[in-house]
């Protein structure tokens, strides 16, 4: 038998953990919506994005099973995100130079 057809040897989490993660995601959504009502000035975007990043980490790690995936996938995703983040950071250097924040 090839190893490839036998990749699911690790234990799969039950329904409970997924429902817990979902509750966390809904909770974080409520927090973002509630925080939008406050005037946090320039912090608003930062806080909203930080919460969005936490939410997507929950989705990738638990719903997309990256947490229990082999190292190859983790490296793959890390490299892709690193390239993407580099693009974003370089763009922001350029933007802050052209349009200084008030």
């Amino acid at each position: 038998m090839s190893d490839n057809t036998n990749t699911h040897t690790h234990e799969h989490p039950g329904y409970g953990l997924y429902i817990l993660v979902w509750a966390g995601l809904v909770g974080l959504t409520t927090i973002t919506v509630a925080l939008a009502g406050f005037n946090l000035a320039s912090l608003t975007v930062v806080v909203a994005m930080a919460i969005a990043v936490i939410k997507s980490l929950l989705v990738t790690n638990y719903f997309m099973h990256v947490r229990t995936d082999s190292a190859v996938f983790k490296i793959f995703i890390f490299v892709c995100l690193a390239i993407f983040l580099t693009m974003i950071v370089l763009t922001f250097f350029d933007l802050t130079y052209r349009f200084p924040l008030k």
Binding site: Y18, T44, A48, F63, M64, S70, F73, I88
Partner: protein, 205 residues
């Protein structure tokens, strides 16, 4: 001997299939990523106009749609767990819920867009001419990004409906469900994109 080997040999590579799906998801990330960078650039240029324009979007519909997508993601992952435990009918019900929630998302989106179009906010629409440059750029990005996202929802729903047929016909089972897993990965990615779209368009104050 050779006959036996031929029967025993199952041409299947789940790990490779999953990797292929992830590679595709990376291209999706770059597709939407480019648009997010475009959004960031214009928001830097027109911070005040973006705030004014975002005020006219309905936060409630946006929040309801967020909950719908998060819940539909949950039911996909539960459906995979159910199928692994050979609870085929339960798995189909859960996927059915995902399809209903995804459909509800699209219905909300339809009403949201209709309201905007009714108010004359669409490319070359009567209200667009009265808006500032920043506001019209905001609505342009709003239509392109949520539109492309809605297109992904439609594709994801079709993907999941195909998987439901496969499960019903016994082609995807607890021991052999990488296609369903891939459909799930796609659906979760669409969910993640919405996780970022929602605060960026609906929650600027």
């Amino acid at each position: 001997m050779s006959n036996e080997a031929a029967v025993a040999h199952v041409h299947r590579d789940d790990e490779g299939s999953k990797m292929g799906m992830w590679l595709f998801l990376f291209t999706e990330l770059l597709l939407f990523g480019g648009m997010f960078i475009l959004y960031a650039s214009y928001r830097f240029m027109y911070p005040d106009n973006f705030k004014v324009a975002a005020m006219r979007l309905d936060t409630l519909i946006g929040a309801v749609n967020t909950i719908l997508l998060l819940t539909s993601s949950l039911t996909v992952v539960l459906a995979i767990t159910a199928l692994r435990r050979n609870q085929k009918t339960f798995s189909l019900y859960l996927l059915g819920f995902t399809v209903v929630a995804g459909g509800a998302f699209l219905v909300n989106k339809f009403f949201e867009w209709s309201a905007k179009i009714h108010h004359g906010i669409y490319p070359k629409g009567p209200e667009m001419a009265n808006l500032s440059d920043g506001e019209s750029v905001f609505y342009g990005l709003y239509y392109v990004m949520t539109g492309l996202h809605a297109l992904h929802i439609i594709v994801g729903l079709a993907f999941i409906i195909f998987m439901m047929v496969f499960i019903a016909r016994g082609k995807q089972t607890g021991d052999n469900c990488q296609k369903l897993e891939n459909a799930g990965l796609y659906w979760h990615l669409v969910d993640i994109i919405w996780i970022f779209l929602f605060p960026l368009f609906y929650l600027i104050h």
